[in-house]
């Protein structure tokens, strides 16, 4: 029922919003939550419980009501108590079979006697039957549904900075924010509610001051999802996350009001007093007409005043405490409300349809015989609190159990972390103000802003929390965990079975593992364990409080999802030429250039043929390109590569292999000597960044007289190759093209400074042309244009792979793996063990003394091979055992054979011998070990000085 206007109410009565729930139309107001609008319309059953499908309603109205989860289109698991009402919402309760009203799943409630804690561990595991049971379980499990048509949402994320972050905008948080700001701190104040002020009335004056303060940024409707190292706290707003870096953090997160445990304490209409008060104050909703108030602290009587003011009839106050302060007795007395001190609610009684509380049975505490039965449609509970200490735990706070207030409180806070208010064990309004001021001032002082005010906060005289708000009942249904439908006996039974450690009890019973992550169950569960094992709650301890405080949507966590892409200067030209792209790390490289009407294979073969017979051009700009200068440059290179470079002539290049300290091949490239003290060299595409970084580290360690410059992005590079390449280049360059094989020259190409390296990777006369990136596209275009008359084709990675295979050149990472030594890969010739030192040398010396486990060899399939050819990584089989694997294989248009490389066992590597390769369908294919290069074995074509 909607109440008349309440002072400071959050709803806007001029903006009605229509929505649907379970197929029925309702109207609420802007400012309502889904749950408050439904409560106003008299709907008390909002969902069904996870296991037994019992009717459930509001509990906290504070974003913890996981039994009131709803589905709206593609949005699963909306919490009705925290989701703002929007016009046109069409909501359904999650996890019902049929409808919320008629939920076939509710029959499970009748089976609960068969389904004690951990029942699923004790049956259903027959080997043949389990899959069938599992199917049934899977049909029952889960909450909301995912909608496969829901689009990806890219929500922005941002970084934020402040001096003092205050988490919690209640009384103590407001006071902390103000006191820190007044000392000069830039403050961020976060509260998960739509408005500041917390759950207590009386802070409105503070709210005004905070909102007006120039140094306080307020984030309402925002929660701190977790505390991470160095005061890094993600603030989850509705539309984004702000990752806040603070210099100090004040946790003023308050406390969760805790339910009492009695039979049927989960009936709709049974709720926390603070939740009922929220509905009244914020949404002007009267949650019940006639209630019984279950009390055990001063907060209960403050709430009682609210309830009376809202016109709720209070049938009785049942107080767990035998004696209570006279000022608390005064209020019920003044309104002729019967007060049952030292009593408990033995059980709540359901209405005839079972969907709402209809009465309670009251008994003296500790007795099982009811002395009174009262009719009511609401039971409001205020029996105690548990600190919202998740952030404090995550920050590494040491907590202790304060028996005086029956609560865990911070004992030792980490540097720069402060706590105040209820989470700090301070509950009285005036004390919370003081405690907030103290913490805010100390936090500002931590940032070097002013001194920490010496404020003494009085200790609580009256415990706000009852040590044992738990009432056993032989019939059970006294729930400790509403998420997981766990009753008191479930925990007792788990303990009986030996799960008598808080973490084991949690894992076995699943207490606290549901969507509310134990906010309303952990404390009572801990008390049950403490009592059963004769320990104090402090000795039992809490379970680890892991992030997140509330679940966070993946869209928010993902944010935009930056995936940077790297493009060579010729990217657009490749695109225009029909490049089919393949990813190479962050780069995109042309795999081949598509020609309309031709297959992929035909395109690749055509490109290869162009290189063999005419001329081709490939973009090799993704290779790492480094420069090293200085008197010790040659010595440095000799230390990090396996070959020698001191004797390399200026104007010449040499192949380079790099090993790690274990002697494993990790990279290769070409080193060009431009001057005595000046080298330019390449690395693999994938290794570029790591090689540059590692060389820099070696140089930091060795302090040699040389410097390394990374030119990977600054230089464009392309390889022009083929019998007609020289003709293409003639006229475009001032470099004398009669330069010998493996020579390097600096000169001009198309009028821009260039480095030309005579390379043989693809086995034809070829030259790698390196120019500053800004000129790359122009040079490429000029070459393509000049090549037109010679039938030039751009070629991609696949054609290059084929061409190099014909030449027997290996590709690091394809023909090597994470354990390949140079010898295994046939690179012994490059390794100079007679150098004083190189990385990996000592390991290779040890390895050389042991039998070599495998050898990379070239192979050919018989010329008349028919049927499917092996693929890369098909196994070499010898006498039924694995003897190696194929690393590369291709159909060679030049040789008209399948050629490849494979690892084989020692002794199988003699040229002309045969071995078997097993295909995926288990047929064996015979291959003959062949000498490489397969094509132009004497390397005449690439050396040819035409």
């Amino acid at each position: 029922m909607r109440l008349p206007a309440q002072p400071g109410e959050w709803i806007d009565r001029t903006t009605p919003l229509g929505f649907r729930f379970e197929g029925r139309d309702y109207t609420g107001f802007a400012g309502d939550t889904v749950a408050s609008a439904l409560a106003a319309a008299g709907v008390s059953m909002l969902g069904r419980s996870f296991k037994y499908h019992r009717p459930r309603g509001l509990l906290s109205a504070a974003n913890h009501d996981v039994n009131a989860m709803m589905q709206w289109g593609g949005m699963p698991n909306l919490r009705a108590d925290a989701t703002p009402l929007a016009a046109g919402m069409d909501l359904e309760a999650v996890n019902t079979f049929g409808t919320l009203e008629r939920d076939a799943g509710s029959m499970l409630g009748h089976l609960s006697r068969f389904l004690p804690v951990g029942f699923y561990y004790k049956a259903f595991h027959g080997k043949r039957l389990f899959p069938l049971w599992e199917k049934m379980f899977r049909a029952m499990t889960g909450l909301g549904k995912v909608d496969f048509s829901a689009p990806r949402q890219r929500t922005p994320k941002r970084y934020g900075f402040c001096d003092v972050l205050v988490v919690g905008g209640g009384t103590s948080g407001l006071a902390a924010a103000l006191s820190a700001a007044e000392q000069g701190a830039q403050v961020a104040l976060v509260d998960e509610n739509a408005r500041l002020g917390g759950s207590t009335q009386g802070a409105s004056e503070l709210v005004g001051k905070v909102l007006a303060h120039p140094r306080i940024r307020v984030f309402t409707d925002t929660y701190a999802a977790g505390y991470y190292a160095d005061h890094w706290v993600p603030l989850v707003e509705r539309e984004r996350i702000t990752k806040m870096r603070a210099r100090a953090v004040v946790v003023a997160a308050g406390a969760f009001e805790q339910p009492a445990v009695f039979r049927n304490n989960d009936l709709p209409g049974v709720m926390l007093a603070s939740g009922a008060a929220r509905l009244i104050r914020r949404h002007a909703v009267q949650p019940a007409g006639r209630i019984v108030l279950l009390a055990a602290n001063a907060d209960a009587y403050q709430a009682l005043a609210d309830f009376i003011r809202a016109g709720i009839e209070v049938a009785a106050v049942v107080d767990l405490r035998g004696t209570l302060p006279s000022e608390q007795r005064a209020l019920p007395a003044a309104h002729d409300i019967p007060l049952f001190a030292g009593h408990c609610i033995l059980e709540a009684l359901p209405s005839s349809d079972g969907r709402r509380v209809a009465g309670v049975k009251i008994a003296p505490l500790g007795q099982t015989q009811a002395i009174a039965e009262l009719a009511c449609d609401g039971v409001f509970m205020s029996v105690g609190w548990a600190p919202a200490a998740a952030l404090l735990y995550q920050a590494g706070t040491k907590m202790r159990y304060d028996a005086g207030i029956e609560q865990f409180v911070p004992e030792k806070l980490p540097d720069g972390v402060f706590a105040c208010g209820r989470v700090n064990g301070v509950h009285t309004f005036a004390s919370r103000l003081l405690d907030g001021e103290r913490a805010g001032s100390a936090a500002a002082a931590h940032c070097g802003l002013g001194g920490a005010k010496p404020i003494a906060v009085p200790t609580e005289t009256d415990s706000p929390t009852h040590p044992w708000p738990i009432v056993p009942h032989p019939e059970g249904k006294n729930f400790i965990d509403f998420d997981e439908d766990l009753q008191l006996s479930d925990l007792e039974n788990a303990i009986q079975e030996g799960f008598d450690n808080i973490e084991l009890m949690k894992r076995y019973s699943t207490v606290g593992m549901g969507p509310s992550q134990g906010k309303h169950s952990n404390m009572n569960a801990l008390r049950v364990l403490a009592r059963a094992t004769g320990a104090t709650p402090g000795e039992v301890g809490t379970t680890t409080a892991r992030p997140f405080f509330h679940p966070v949507p993946m869209s928010h966590l993902a944010g935009r999802g930056f995936t940077p892409e790297r493009r060579t200067p010729m990217h657009a030209l490749h695109e225009a030429a029909g490049a089919v792209w393949m990813p190479a790390g962050a780069w995109q490289r042309p795999e081949y250039y598509a020609i309309h009407g031709l297959t992929r294979e035909a395109c690749i073969e055509g490109e290869a043929l162009a290189v063999r017979q005419g001329v081709g051009l490939i973009d090799v700009g993704t290779l790492g390109k480094l420069e090293i200068r200085g008197p010790q440059a040659a010595e440095f290179l000799e230390r990090v590569y396996v070959s020698k470079y001191a004797g390399l002539k200026t104007g010449m290049t040499r192949y380079a292999v790099m090993c790690d300290e274990a002697g494993v091949v990790i990279d290769d490239g070409v080193i060009a000597r431009l001057a005595d003290d000046h080298f330019y060299f390449t690395t693999t595409t994938s290794g570029a960044a790591a090689v540059y970084r590692e060389l820099s580290r070696w140089n930091t360690l060795w302090k040699m007289d040389c410097g390394i410059v990374n030119l990977t992005g600054a230089m464009a590079a392309m390889n022009l190759a083929g019998p007609k390449a020289k003709q293409v280049l003639t006229g475009l360059t001032d470099v004398d093209l009669s330069l010998p094989f493996l020579a390097v020259r600096e000169g001009n190409v198309c009028g821009v400074p260039a480095r030309l390296m005579r390379a043989g990777f693809v086995g034809e006369w070829g030259v790698e042309i390196h120019v500053p990136a800004e000129h790359g596209a122009r040079v490429w275009q000029a070459l393509m244009q000049a090549g037109q008359a010679h039938g030039i084709r751009p070629f991609g990675v696949e054609a290059q792979r084929l061409l190099r295979l014909e030449k027997g050149h290996i590709i690091i990472g394809q023909d090597t793996d994470g354990l390949t030594t140079p010898g295994e890969a046939g690179l012994d010739w490059a390794v100079k063990m007679d150098k004083p030192f190189f990385v990996g040398q000592r390991s290779l010396a040890i390895i050389a003394s042991k039998p070599r486990p495998r050898q990379l060899v070239g192979f050919m399939l018989p010329a008349d091979h028919a049927g499917p050819a092996p693929q890369e990584c098909h196994l070499v089989i010898d006498n039924g055992d694995i003897a190696g694997r194929v690393t590369s294989i291709a159909w060679s248009p030049a040789l008209q054979r399948h050629i490849g490389m494979a690892y084989v066992k020692p002794g199988m590597d003699a040229a002309g011998s045969t071995f078997a390769i097993r295909l995926s369908d288990k047929t064996l294919v015979s291959a003959e070990v062949a000498k490489t290069p397969f094509y132009d074995p004497d390397n005449l074509r690439q050396k040819e000085e035409a």
């Binding site: 991470y228 190292a229 160095d230 890094w232 990752k243 300290e661 274990a662 540059y692 970084r693 820099s696 580290r697 930091t700 360690l701 302090k703 990374n710 030192f837 040398q841 000592r842 390991s843 040890i846």
Partner: protein, 85 residues
């Protein structure tokens, strides 16, 4: 995100850095035994504690030394490498 302080570029999110492992001194390959060498190549000081480590600030390619307590993931000190000791 955790903060690492580059001695040159100052405090930054740890995502700007690459970890280079504990600083270990290499035995003289010319005189050490095979076992000593294998120990250097493969074995690590894997227990929690304060370690001297290589870290690299990636945007500036600055290698430096961080003393870090690996049990608590707390960076105690960072400085440029000046040799062993």
């Amino acid at each position: 995100m955790k903060i690492m302080t580059c001695p040159v570029n100052g405090p930054r999110a740890i995502s700007e850095f690459a970890y280079g492992g504990e600083i270990r001194s290499m035995p003289d390959p010319a005189t050490c035994s095979d076992d000593e060498w294998a120990d250097y190549v493969f074995n690590r000081n894997g227990s929690p504690g304060v370690k001297r480590e290589w870290w690299c600030h990636l945007p500036s390619n600055t290698w430096f030394v961080a003393e870090r307590d690996t049990a608590r993931d707390v960076v105690l000190r960072t400085y440029l490498y000046e040799g062993e000791g």
